[in-house]
Amino acid sequence: MFDDRSPIYRQIAERIKADVLSGALEADEQVMSTNQYAAFYRINPATAAKAFQQLVDEKVLYKKRGIGMFVSTEAREMLRVQGRETFFGEVVDPMVAEAKAIGIPLTDVIRRIELLENGDI
């Protein structure tokens, strides 16, 4: 289920962040427990707990003692801001490099973006 390479807790944390960004997990919604995550992904519960701890440290989740973990109110906006900071470096630049390598003119890439923007494709 995991690519068994990058630490599993980081992969779980990324997945929860993706769910927060997409809206699959809403603000103040409770996330599954460490044990539920562990059983679902067939991983050690300490690993799942580590992912949750990382998300608490990053203020994506907050803890209600004795109840569980919840998505913080500002999590989505925070992740959107962070995503915007890295978007060009991590998404656009490699795309432009790939387009150049295989010989797609950037004007074609721009046209495609405009079509998507106008809802034509």
């Binding site: 068994d4 390479r5 990058s6 630490p7 059983a39 050690n44 519960p45 300490a46 690993t47 580590k50």
Partner: protein
């Protein structure tokens, strides 16, 4: 159950199976004990279970010496692969009764659940079980013992893949319901890796390392790029292995890289990738000079 091994040595005549080994395990974690055949895993676990007297050093389980100590061994369960300790003419039901005598923590109802999970009949004779069924029987004994220190020595090796997954799920579920210390030895490292909180790697009777699984995993880095660039980059680093394909070279490096090294790799156009735990294990336990 906490385990403290200090200067442990196990000798059989002239052969030293465990050589001055020291490590400590905390309560309520799942540990992987990894080593090649003949590395001393089984000798080590036999001593931890109190089956064998150490030739030197000490082994404390829950703070107590285990050899000939009924109070300590009542809290320890060791299942060797394919449950070879059971009498072949016994029925499963009889073998379970004996297992229950041994320890107060035995859960008969859970044993029945596991028999059902693994589709084993109580009336079956141990000697008539297939390899896979014997493995399932061994695992049943190990899990239902609910022993504060439970050791499974390759006990799931004979299971087919769907049965192994059932075992992993049962182990995890029961560990979460009833936390205890597990030591699992296996050759199927990648399959089990996600279940292990920490790993202990031994080789030639000596401790190679004891580390959190996740941090060990992040210690291995595969560096790939043009051969000369790779050579320049890995000079001075611990290289576990290298291979070349035309002008491309790939080197497995052990240790973490600092920001400066990461930046240097990026400038040189080198690709950095992680290494699977199993590959790290292979290289960390490889006799010197075997590969190069």
């Amino acid at each position: 159950m906490r385990v403290d091994v200090t200067g442990l040595t196990v000798r059989y005549g002239d052969v030293t199976a465990v050589d001055d080994m020291s490590f400590s395990l905390e309560s309520d974690k799942i540990y992987g004990l990894l080593g090649r055949n003949g590395s001393g895993k089984t000798s080590l676990m036999s001593v931890l279970a109190g089956y064998r007297k150490p030739s030197g050093g000490t082994v404390l389980v829950g703070g107590e010496p285990v050899f000939e100590n009924r109070r300590a061994t009542a809290g320890i369960s060791l299942v060797r692969h394919v449950a070879d300790a059971a009498d072949k003419s016994d029925k499963i039901s009889e073998a379970l009764t004996y297992a229950a005598w041994w320890r107060d923590s035995w859960d008969a109802r859970y044993a029945d659940e596991l028999l059902e999970l693994f589709k084993l009949s109580r009336d079956e004779k141990i000697g008539a079980l297939s390899l896979g069924q014997r493995s399932a029987f061994g695992v049943t004994i190990g899990l239902a013992s609910r022993a504060p220190l439970t050791m499974l020595d390759e006990s799931h090796l004979g299971m087919d893949t769907p049965t192994r997954y059932k075992f992993y799920d049962a182990l995890l579920q029961d560990f979460m319901r009833n936390p205890r210390t597990f030591i699992l030895s296996t050759h199927l490292i990648e399959e089990l890796a996600a279940l292990l909180e920490e790993v202990v790697i031994i080789d030639g009777g000596k401790l190679v390392l004891h580390e959190e699984t996740d941090s060990l995993r992040s210690r291995g880095i595969e560096v790939t790029g043009v051969a000369d660039d790779v050579d320049g980059f890995v000079a001075g680093l611990t290289v576990l292995s290298e291979k070349t394909l035309g002008r491309t070279k790939s080197a497995m490096v052990y240790g973490s890289l600092d920001d400066e090294q990461l930046a240097a790799a990026r400038r040189a156009g080198l690709e950095l990738g992680p290494i699977a735990l199993q590959d790290l294990f292979v290289h960390l336990t490889e006799p010197v000079g075997e590969t190069r």
